[in-house]
């Protein structure tokens, strides 16, 4: 009897291991415009796939992770960490004197056929206007940093998505177009 149990337990463990090692089907945007795509197999166990889309100052990172299920609070914890990473990224790209503020946050945001956890941060900076001695300071929104995470129950995968928009304030049409491209990429990510 002990032998049978041992065989049963080890075959259960083997099947769970095979489940977590089974390659994920990465979540992808429907169109990628002129973005440069970098695909990585981040981990084999559990299977994690990461795709990075970059175009100048716009960035989109999508990670697909093999999971059994995930409560919203686990995703909120990921976002707390992402917030730290975002602050670093923003400080590097826009200088240290920027302010990162959470503008929207939802624990059940309908997305890609699922209910996602979503957070959006605004990147603000004090900018000087006018010529000395008539200088006034105004706070402008430079960019937006957003994160979305959800469990795809159809494929038993979690998707964590993170983006940074290009600078808004540059008064540059190509950047505005880039921002629109990024917006539609993020909006049309499909996981199954």
């Amino acid at each position: 009897m002990l032998g049978i149990s041992a065989i049963a337990y080890s075959s259960v463990a083997l099947m769970y291991a095979a489940f977590f090692a089974y390659p994920v089907s990465p979540a992808v945007p429907q169109s990628t415009f002129d973005f440069v795509i970098e695909d990585k197999e981040y981990s084999k166990f559990p299977s994690i796939h990461e795709t990075i889309y970059t175009n100048g100052r716009a960035l989109l990172v999508i990670a697909t992770v093999r999971t059994v299920s995930a409560p919203s609070s686990a995703y909120s914890m990921i976002f707390d960490r992402v917030e730290g990473y975002a602050e670093e990224f923003v400080a590097e790209n826009y200088g240290v004197e920027v302010d990162l503020r959470e503008e929207e946050s939802s624990a059940s945001y309908p997305f890609s056929g699922h209910s996602a956890v979503r957070s959006v941060f605004g990147v603000y900076k004090e900018v000087a206007f006018g010529i000395e001695p008539f200088v006034t300071f105004k706070e402008v929104k430079l960019a937006e940093v957003g994160g979305l995470a959800w469990f795809c129950d159809v494929d038993f995968e979690s998707v964590v998505l993170f983006y940074v928009t290009p600078v808004y304030f540059a008064d540059d049409e190509s950047l505005e177009a880039l921002s629109d491209d990024l917006g539609s990429m993020v909006g049309e990510v499909q996981c199954h």
Binding site: M1, I4, S5, I7, A8, Y9, S11, V12, M15, Y16, A18, F19, Y22, S25, R66, V68, S69, P71, S72, S73, F151, D153, V154, D155, F156
Partner: protein
Amino acid sequence: MNPAIILLAAASIPMAAVSLYRYLEYRRPSSAAGVVGAGWSAAGVFLVSAGMPGLLLLPCLLAILLLGSMADLRHDRSRIVIVRTAVIVVLLVAVSAGLVVL
């Protein structure tokens, strides 16, 4: 159907087989509960992929095992059965409390 989901559901089969073998041998209610619990786990995987909240899976499984263990207690008050029942109760309380907090 994603092969990963079939693998996850199939992981319940060995436990179902062992519980069934034990039930046929000793007729203990806990073994019958083991068969039902394994069936629930396998079915639950497909239910989750069809949209059922995954958080319900584990508490329901523990509740099934607890019923079986409590039924054993009526005939067999040996220490091992008492301890096993207590462990399942603690797990069920912890998991349920965890879900409420989360």
